[in-house]
Subunit: 222 residues, 2 copies
Amino acid sequence: MTHNDAPGSKIPMVVIKRLPVYQRYLSELQKKEVERISSGELAAKIGITASQLRHDLSCFGNFGQQGYGYKVDDLLFEVNKILGLDHNIYMVLIGAGNLGRAVLSYPNFLSRGFIFKAAFDQKQPPVNLNIEGILVQPVRELESYLKEQLIDIGVITTPAANAQEIADILVAGGVRGIWNFAPISLKTPENVVVEHVHISESLLVLSYQLCHKGFGRLPVSY
Amino acid sequence: MTHNDAPGSKIPMVVIKRLPVYQRYLSELQKKEVERISSGELAAKIGITASQLRHDLSCFGNFGQQGYGYKVDDLLFEVNKILGLDHNIYMVLIGAGNLGRAVLSYPNFLSRGFIFKAAFDQKQPPVNLNIEGILVQPVRELESYLKEQLIDIGVITTPAANAQEIADILVAGGVRGIWNFAPISLKTPENVVVEHVHISESLLVLSYQLCHKGFGRLPVSY
DNA sequence: CTAACTTTGTTAAAAAAATAACAATCTTTA
DNA sequence: TAAAGATTGTTATTTTTTTAACAAAGTTAG
């Protein structure tokens, strides 16, 4: 047992970014009621090497059994715990346009412990406008709302022009993380974690690949 | 001049994934009418090393001038060309729900040459339903539409249950790339490029970081 | 025009990540 | 219960990626 959970120890970001992938495949297996899986089988499904999978997991602990593999339920439980999905995470969303509604109605949030407590929009929303069971309130209520409720993550789906202002309110209101869909870099204190979703980046990568096909093999090494 | 544009040469995927970032910052500079920039300045803005920026660019050519730096216009032009943004890319979207509408109305697509030619939805759309100037047609028209129009990329924003069926129609209709937002792995021939957008992955990374804050420093190395 | 700067592209070195190898040990089968 | 087989966790090796260093070449200022 040499896994890295000591204070100050560093887990590489490349490893952390693969955890959600493991979580997804394990959830699928659990849904199919598969009981056990070996690193070789799971890695093949994901499209990586068994070595990498075992190496990644060993950053966090020893979850397998020699000669047997991993119990799907147990490994998923552990991965969920690592990702912080073993307890509820409360969120608010600001910007109830198309994108905001899409995020609010994204499936599999609830089942993973992400709970939208409220949604806000700039325009005075129609009285009792409900999206996916969430009441949409005018954004001027956000500040006072955050004083009363403990919210972990603020989700910004407003136009870029309003995003910084919203971020400031969220930070002042005590959120610890911001999931930002607005195409603008937010300025926040160091203790607030921001994840910026750049949807179009993958479209440009797709464009690149289309553009550079046909030279024998793809000029891409993964 | 030793850059890599020979047939069969391989550009690392990590490099390709940074190109959209360069594109974005360069676009911003151009909008601000900045004429020239050095690798040091640009790298600082982006948050990488100058060395890495120059190294990445050198995969594709020599775009700078010693003692001067890069002309913003020229470098953006070159990066756009590398990404295939120097000509129009025609797209159709299937699934005109909240997510589909959000994608259709995403800003900066047109300016980069991405053009939605049509949108389709499972349900019989209201007569002449227009979203962002795009007529939404019933999805049974998709197959015949693709026979008449040359479409590069199909964008799937349907529920997971319909995604594979749509992908099959797109492939049969001759699209070369699929931008898939449905949470399901698509089976496609090798010559069709698929980019799968896993929106929630970055939320899980955010959750991880929130969960592991406070041990002195973040247990994350970037 | 010259000399002092600046900045690139490239090569070399260092660091990080992925893969391979294998002892340890658990499972399965007979 | 014992032997054969399977699979992990870990260490070693290889590969990839990042960073550093620097000669070459252009710029700027006087």
